[in-house]
Amino acid sequence: MRSSKSLVSAACVAAGLLLLGGCGALAEQHPGKLTIRVARVTGTPDAPMLELGLDCRLSGPMQDALDHGIPLTLQIHIEAGRWRLLPADARSDQRIELRYFPLSRRYQLRDLDAAADVRSFATPGYLLAGLNSLRLPLPATFANLQRGTPVHVDAGLETAALPGALRLPALFEPAWQLSAVEYTWQPAPG
């Protein structure tokens, strides 16, 4: 009886140490960074556009995944409305895909909602720099916002678009956490 109790205690201690070790290992991973540098609604009243400047730095695993042909999808959510709890005056979700093609050694930036908008880059640096100047089409409702209506934008890695095997790490590993703090502004009148 005593030996079985000791065995259980040892197992508990080992599990605790493993858990602590796992937490420590997770904490050591450097997450990526995503910041919305600038955002504004431009374009014509019929075809408003979101001009978005994202500063993005991928974590090691993310960059590795990209280089191994795993596309990374950034989800950009834009919403206009005075009260967050009420239905928004206008809202839109955009998805940007980052992808690498090994044969041509090119990185591609694609607006998944506008198939024609594809840009390719020779290096990941240029790819990420390409995120500095995104022009994304918006629904017409964004052109008719009332004066002073705040517009909120947030962006982040869409883990649901990752391969199934990566979903578990993406849930728990800090290296797979990539989201920007919400950016809010009030469009200038006119």
Binding site: P102, L103, S120, A160, L166, R167
Partner: protein, 729 residues
């Protein structure tokens, strides 16, 4: 009750089943997703959460069952220990194989995934990719040369002729698109052989940097859905500051396009799998862990169920056994199944029925025995003869009340003791115990002996008979108090004597007295003085002796009074006052009274009771004699004895006290210590007391003298009499 049953069913059955189902579905879905066939990306965390919740629920269900088992063990519920043993056995049987399979599955999974990444395959894919790149580079060089040639032709061309040249050359060199950009990056001219590529892609920073570094740009780029060769070369110009640029998009041949795409996809998939190797292992390990936990928890839950199902009939059998042990035979038994347990239940039920019948018979027999014993005890208690029962070793086992009364000892105190031990504590009974012990030792089957025993109530004549019980069950001794019988016989004899005296003697007395008086009257005057005096003395003597004989005959008549006493409620104190008032004025007597409170009523014949009181006072006065002034105290008191209230009328004197050897015989006729008197006074008092259901006893007083106490049963309690009692005058 229905709500409780539903809640119990939900908590104990439905929820664990749902948890198992959820865990199973979640594991399958996660496995499918990890293998690439998922589509659960949006719900991944919910599925994972549901699996964790299901695990927690199963763990809680097991914890609840464990807790219940612990409680059952602590309160010693029937079958709890067996259930625990069975549970441990089932879990020990089921869990290790599952764990072993889990370990092997992990190992197999690890090896299988590693086997996917064959080094040679990877090398082949890399080589194929490199070949593709070489082919593309070759194509790029061709496209570059073509572009340089066109550029050379364009360097002197005015802007308005550029379009024509591009239109001519595009088909010539097999380009998909040709475009000339000006200094400011604007498109000066463009030509396209494919309507999908009408808008030329603008030179980006990378291209411009490469242009600045290498003077030209050539690369394969994914444009649209196709891999295109993009070439940009500067167009020389004589105009200072003019930096025009020719950009051409060249397609790969269709076959090459397909081949390179296939190579790229294959390499892509391989690299992606390679990257996902660790995550795949982790995910599959997680799913296997879910499967392991599901199996282990399910096995444990099932073990609980199986153990409960197996043990429940045993537990109920144990409970039934306890109930039968406690004498309850109506405990429901489990339904007999068609197996060994069913046979056991059937056998137990049959055994219970037989025990119940046997117990009922035994109980009935015990009741009958108890009834017989009670009847025997009642019989013994009502016997006037004393009965003592001894076991084989001579120890007292039973004694009736009559034995206690005759011997004057408490039988309960001596039960279980031998005659020798009784004799040590009651040495005055030696005349009884010694012959009895001698007969018991003698082993005679039957014997009898008359004994004279001194008890606390005086000397008694006992007729002792003994019998050995059959089957060496012991002995029984029966003894009758012949003292009472003898006294009764003497009383009857005295009564007969008295009756005969009253009848035979009284009749001739009057003629004798009359004849003597006639003699005296006839001859007293005729005879001489001397003879006359003789006649006078003789007749006087005859008359006086006849008077004395009459008095004696009357006394005998009183003693042998044939007619029964006329009993009526009598106020005793009033009757006492009436009698005592007759003596109150006699200066020779010091009479005092000390009567109890209230007015006790007795059912009595007032005349007889008055006579008894006169006799007692007369007896006291005669006992005191002339030596001192008689001091007589008449008192009453109420006593309770044998559930009956009595009044005790005591007449105390200051005489010499009772004579030595005073006993029951002194209440018989012609027993007296005085020189005069008939000796019938106390006998009459005793007879009157017995006629009234009472008794008379005598004892010496501590301060000297004797006291005679007449005890009579009270008819109505003092102080509660509502009917006026008869006060005789």
């Amino acid at each position: 009750m229905a709500t409780r049953a539903w809640l119990k069913f939900t908590l104990r059955r439905a929820l664990p089943a749902l948890a198992v189902l959820a865990l199973l579905l979640a594991s399958l879905k996660l496995a499918e997703d990890a293998a690439g066939g998922g589509g659960v990306g949006l719900y991944y965390r919910w599925i994972l959460g549901a699996a964790a919740a299901a695990l927690a629920l199963l763990a809680l269900a097991i914890a609840q069952r464990l807790w219940r088992l612990r409680v059952d063990l602590q309160r010693g519920a029937p079958g709890a220990r067996l259930g625990r043993r069975l549970l441990v056995m089932l879990v020990l049987l089921a869990v290790p194989p599952v764990v072993v399979v889990y370990g092997f599955a992990l190992r197999f999974l690890d090896a299988t995934i590693d086997n996917w990444f064959n080094v040679k395959l990877e090398q082949a894919l890399d080589n194929a990719l490199e070949i593709g790149r070489i082919v593309i580079d070759e194509r790029l060089r061709v496209a570059e040369r073509s572009s340089v040639d066109i550029s050379a032709r364009l360097d002197t061309m005015p802007a308005n002729e550029l379009q024509a040249i591009l239109d001519d050359e595009i088909d010539e060199i097999g380009a998909t698109q040709l475009a000339v950009f000006g200094n400011d990056g604007r498109v000066i001219a463009t030509a396209s052989s494919d309507p999908r590529y009408l808008d030329p892609p603008l030179p980006d920073a990378t291209m411009q940097m490469r242009m600045q570094g290498n003077g030209r740009y050539a690369a394969a780029e994914p444009i649209g859905d196709l891999l295109m060769l993009r070439v940009a070369v500067p167009i020389a110009s004589d105009v200072p500051g003019s930096r025009r640029l020719l950009q051409g998009l060249f397609p790969l041949p269709t076959r090459l396009q397909a081949l390179t795409r296939g190579i790229e996809n294959a390499s892509f998939d391989f690299q992606r799998l390679k990257f996902l190797r660790g995550s795949l292992k982790l995910t599959f390990a997680l799913i296997l862990t879910f499967a392991l936990l599901l199996s282990a928890l399910l096995v444990t839950l099932a073990a609980f169920g199986v153990a409960r199902r197996l043990v429940a009939p045993v537990g109920r059998l144990i409970a039934a056994t306890r109930a039968v042990g406690a004498g309850r035979y109506d405990t429901p038994l489990p339904i007999a199944s068609n197996d060994e347990l069913g046979f056991l239940v059937d056998s137990f039920a049959q055994m219970t029925r037989e025990i119940e019948f046997a117990s009922a018979r035994a109980q009935k027999s015990a009741q009958e025995t108890e009834r017989q014993r009670a009847w025997l005890v009642a019989l013994l208690e009502r016997l006037s003869a004393g009965v003592l029962g001894f076991d084989q070793s001579g120890r007292l086992r039973i004694a009736n009340r009559a034995a206690e009364g005759i011997l004057g000892v408490s039988a309960a105190h001596y039960l279980g003791r031998s005659l020798a031990e009784i004799e040590r504590e009651e040495p005055h009974l030696a005349a009884f115990t010694e012959p009895l012990a001698r007969h018991l030792r003698g082993g005679l089957r039957e014997w009898r002996e008359e004994l004279v025993v001194d008890t606390s109530d005086g000397r008694r004549v006992l007729m002792l008979r003994g019998t050995a019980l059959p089957d060496d069950a012991g002995y029984v001794a029966v003894f009758d108090d012949l003292t009472v019988l003898n006294r009764a016989q003497r009383d009857a004899a005295w009564g007969e004597v008295a009756r005969r005296l009253a009848h035979e003697v009284r009749n001739p007395l009057t003629p004798i007295q009359l004849a003597a008086e006639r003699l005296r009257r006839r001859f007293l005057g005729r005879l001489s003085a001397e003879e006359g005096e003789l006649i006078d003395r003789a007749t006087h003597t005859i008359v006086s002796q006849v008077e004395a004989l009459k008095t004696m005959v009357n006394a005998f008549g009183d003693y042998a009074r044939p007619q029964p006493a006329a009993l009526r409620p009598i106020a005793l104190h009033a009757l006492l006052d009436d009698v005592l008032d007759l003596y109150e004025n006699d200066q020779r007597i010091g009479l005092s009274r000390d009567l109890a409170d209230g007015e006790p009523l007795v059912r009595a014949d007032a005349v007889r009771l008055r006579q008894a009181l006169h006799n007692l006072i007369k007896n006291a006065l005669e006992a005191i004699g002339d030596a001192r002034k008689p001091q007589i105290l008449v008192s009453t008191r109420i006593v309770r004895d044998d559930e009956q209230e009595w009044v005790e009328l005591a007449v105390a004197d200051n005489g010499p006290g009772l004579p030595t050897g005073f006993g029951e015989r002194w209440f018989e006729p012609y027993t007296t210590s005085k020189n005069k008197g008939t000796g019938l006074g106390l006998a009459v008092v005793k007879k009157i007391a017995e006629e009234h259901g009472g008794s008379i006893r005598a004892e010496n007083r501590a301060q000297g003298g004797a006291v005679f106490t007449l005890r009579l049963p009270i008819d109505i309690a003092p102080g509660v009499a509502k009917q006026p009692a008869l006060v005789p005058h």
